[in-house]
C-alpha cells in the first residue's frame, strides 16, 4: 500500500539528512509511529502528504507522488498535529473548499459527533486549539482517502471526542482505509489490537518486531 524508496530528507540549508529510508513497505492496516520528540515523525508524515520536498520516491496504492501528484493527493490525507488555517475563513468555508477539491465522501457523522457544526460558521480566528483540532480531523477524513495520516490526533480533544475518533478510525479501517498515526497518548485497547507499531529511530523507520 505504501512504498518508500531511497528516501532522504534534508532541511533547507543543511547538508545532513534528518531522515534516511532506503526501502520500506507496508500493507493496508493501522500503523502507530513511535519516536522521541524531534525524531522526524511530523517531517515524515508531511513528506508522505506531499507538503514538503524530499529526495527519493513515495508510492501509495501504485501512485507515485512526484509523477501523479493530483491523483496521489486525492488518496492521501493528512491531519496536522497543530493545525493552522487562515484566520479570516470560517470552518464552513474550509470544509466547502476541501469537499470541492478532494471530492468523494464527506464525514457528516464525524462532523456531527465532534460538534463541529456548532462552530463552523465562525471564523477560525475565534477557535480554541480543541476546536481547530476537531475541524482538522473532519477535513482529514474528507474525500476518498486510501491512506489517512493523523499527527497527534488525540491532543487537545475532550474525552467524548477521543471516543468518537477511535470509533471512526475503526469504522474507516474496516472499509480498507489505512492509517498512520503518531501519538504520545495511547490508543484504546480495541484499536491497539489491530495496530502495527513502527519505530522512527536513528533517522530511519522500521517495524518494531522486524
Amino acid at each position: 500500500m505504501l512504498t518508500i524508496q531511497n528516501f532522504q530528507k534534508k532541511y533547507p540549508g543543511n547538508t545532513q539528512p534528518v531522515l534516511s529510508i532506503n526501502q520500506f513497505e507496508i500493507e493496508t492496516g493501522i500503523y502507530w509511529i513511535k519516536g522521541e520528540n524531534g525524531s522526524g515523525k511530523t517531517t515524515l508524515l508531511k513528506s508522505i502528504a506531499g507538503m514538503i520536498p524530499f529526495e527519493g520516491s513515495i508510492t501509495v496504492s501504485g501512485l507515485q507522488l512526484s509523477a501523479n501528484r493530483m491523483d496521489y493527493t486525492r488518496i492521501v490525507n493528512y491531519a496536522e498535529a497543530e493545525p493552522r488555517y487562515p484566520n479570516f475563513l470560517t470552518g464552513k468555508e474550509l470544509i466547502d473548499f476541501y469537499r470541492a477539491t478532494k471530492k468523494g465522501d464527506f464525514p457528516g457523522t464525524l462532523l456531527e459527533a465532534l460538534g463541529v457544526e456548532k462552530f463552523m460558521h465562525q471564523k477560525t480566528a475565534t477557535y480554541s486549539s480543541g476546536m481547530l483540532k476537531k475541524l482538522s480531523l473532519v477535513l482529514g477524513f474528507t474525500g476518498s482517502a486510501k491512506l489517512l495520516m493523523l499527527d497527534e490526533p488525540l491532543i487537545a480533544l475532550d474525552v467524548a471526542a477521543v471516543e468518537v475518533l477511535h470509533a471512526t478510525i475503526r469504522q474507516y479501517s474496516e472499509k480498507g482505509i489505512s492509517f498512520i498515526i503518531t501519538s504520545h497518548q495511547p490508543l484504546n485497547n480495541v484499536l491497539m489490537a489491530g495496530t502495527t507499531t513502527l519505530l522512527l529511530t536513528e533517522k530511519t523507520l522500521r517495524q518494531q518486531n522486524a
Partner: protein
C-alpha cells in the same frame, strides 16, 4: 516608557544591525571604500547633484530606499511573529499615540543610514534653491518611516479592535461575509489582514500616478512615467511577499490537496489582476490622450506579470529577503531598459515566460527555512 523603548531597541534595532552587519559592511565599502580618500567628498557631491537634478536618477534612488525600508519592515514582522516573541504583544496595553511614537523611533533608527544620506541630499537641494526637490525627499522619508511604524503598529495590535487605527481600518472592511472561493483567498487575505499595508501602497501608487497624469498632464514625460510606474510595482513587492508567505504558512495545507500548478499560478495571477486594478482604472480615467489605451493595457499586464515574476523569485530564493530585494532591483533595471528600447510587448512576453518557468521549476521544491 524608557524601559520599553530600550527593550524594543535591543530586540528590533540592535538585532537588525547585528544580523545585517555583512550587508552594511558591503554597502560601506561600496560607497566609501572604493573611492580614493581625497575624492570622496567631491564624488558624493556629484552623486547627490545627479540625484537632485535627474528625476530618473531620483526615481532609482527612491526605489533603493524603499527596498531597504521593506527589508526593515519584514525583519520586524519576522521577529514579532516568532514563537518566542509573544512578550512584545504587551505593548498593546500602551495608548495608541505612545505606541506609534515608539514604533516611529524603531523605524527611524533602522532607517538611519538612509536618513543620514538623505539629510545631505536635502541640504544640497536647499543650498541650490531646489526647494521642491528637497521638500519632496523629506516628505518621502517621513512617509517611509510612517509606513514602517504603521505596519508595526497594525502587526502588534491586529487583535485589538479598541485601538483607534484598527477601528478605522475595520470600518473599511466589507461587513457582509462573502463566501471566499480558492481564487479569492489571497485578495481576501490582503483585505482582511494586510489592509494597512495595502492602503499605504495604494496611496503611494496613486500619488505617483497623479504626478504623471494630473499634475504634469499637459507636459506628460514618458520616461519619468516609466520610472514611476515601475516604482509602483516595485512597491507591490512587499504585497507579493505577504501573499507567498501566507500561502506557505496559513495555507500550507493546500499542498496536500489535488490542486494543479496551473490553478495555483492562476490564483496568484488573479490576485495581482485585482491588486493592480485601481492603477488601471486611474490611468484610463485620467489619461487625456497622454498614452494610447493599448499601451495602458500593456503596462497593466506587465505589472501583473512582474508581480508573478516576483512570486516565482520568492519560490526560487526560499523567501530569503536579501536575495529577493536584490532580484527585484535587477528586474526593475532590466524592465526599464527593455521598455525604454521600445520592446513593450516583448518585455511582457519575456516576463510571463520567465515567471512561468521559474515558478514551475521551484514551486514543488520550495520549503520554508
Amino acid at each position: 516608557m524608557k524601559m520599553i523603548a530600550s527593550l524594543l531597541l535591543k530586540v528590533l534595532v540592535k538585532q537588525f544591525y547585528i544580523i545585517n552587519a555583512g550587508f552594511f559592511l558591503f554597502l560601506f565599502f561600496f560607497f566609501f571604500g572604493i573611492i580614493n580618500g581625497g575624492q570622496l567628498i567631491s564624488y558624493h557631491q556629484s552623486l547627490i547633484l545627479g540625484i537632485i537634478s535627474s528625476p530618473v536618477f531620483m526615481g532609482l534612488v527612491w526605489l533603493a530606499w524603499m527596498l531597504y525600508n521593506i527589508k526593515c519592515i519584514v525583519f520586524c514582522n519576522s521577529i514579532i511573529k516568532a514563537e518566542d516573541s509573544s512578550y512584545i504583544f504587551v505593548l498593546k496595553a500602551l495608548p495608541a499615540a505612545k505606541q506609534f511614537v515608539l514604533y516611529s523611533i524603531v523605524a527611524a533608527l533602522q532607517y538611519l543610514p538612509v536618513l543620514v544620506y538623505s539629510f545631505f541630499v536635502i541640504t544640497m537641494a536647499f543650498n541650490r534653491s531646489m526647494l521642491l526637490t528637497g521638500a519632496l525627499v523629506a516628505i518621502y522619508q517621513l512617509l517611509m518611516i510612517g509606513l514602517a511604524a504603521g505596519i508595526l503598529f497594525i502587526t502588534i495590535n491586529k487583535n485589538m479592535p479598541s485601538v483607534w487605527i484598527a477601528k478605522a481600518f475595520t470600518s473599511l472592511t466589507v461587513r457582509k461575509r462573502i463566501n471566499v472561493g480558492y481564487y479569492g483567498f489571497l485578495p481576501a487575505y490582503i483585505l482582511y489582514e494586510k489592509k494597512f499595508a495595502f492602503t499605504v501602497i495604494k496611496i503611494f501608487s496613486l500619488l505617483l500616478l497623479s504626478v504623471s497624469f494630473v499634475r504634469n498632464g499637459d507636459q506628460f514625460d514618458e520616461d519619468l512615467f516609466s520610472i514611476f510606474f515601475q516604482l509602483i510595482f516595485a512597491a507591490h513587492a512587499v504585497a507579493v511577499f505577504y501573499c507567498v508567505d501566507f500561502n506557505e504558512s496559513q495555507m500550507q495545507f493546500g499542498r496536500n490537496l489535488p490542486l494543479n500548478l496551473l490553478k495555483i499560478a492562476g490564483m496568484y495571477l488573479f490576485t495581482f489582476c485585482m491588486l493592480m486594478l485601481p492603477e488601471l482604472i486611474f490611468m484610463l480615467v485620467n489619461n487625456h490622450s497622454n498614452l494610447p489605451v493599448i499601451n495602458i493595457l500593456l503596462l497593466y499586464l506587465t505589472a501583473v506579470s512582474t508581480l508573478f515574476l516576483y512570486t516565482a523569485i520568492l519560490y526560487g530564493c526560499g523567501l530569503n529577503m536579501e536575495s529577493y530585494m536584490l532580484l527585484v532591483f535587477i528586474v526593475f533595471i532590466m524592465i526599464f531598459f527593455l521598455q525604454k528600447a521600445g520592446f513593450q510587448s516583448l518585455t511582457l512576453l519575456g516576463i510571463l515566460v520567465t515567471a512561468g518557468v521559474v515558478f514551475k521549476t521551484n514551486y514543488y521544491s520550495f520549503e520554508r527555512e
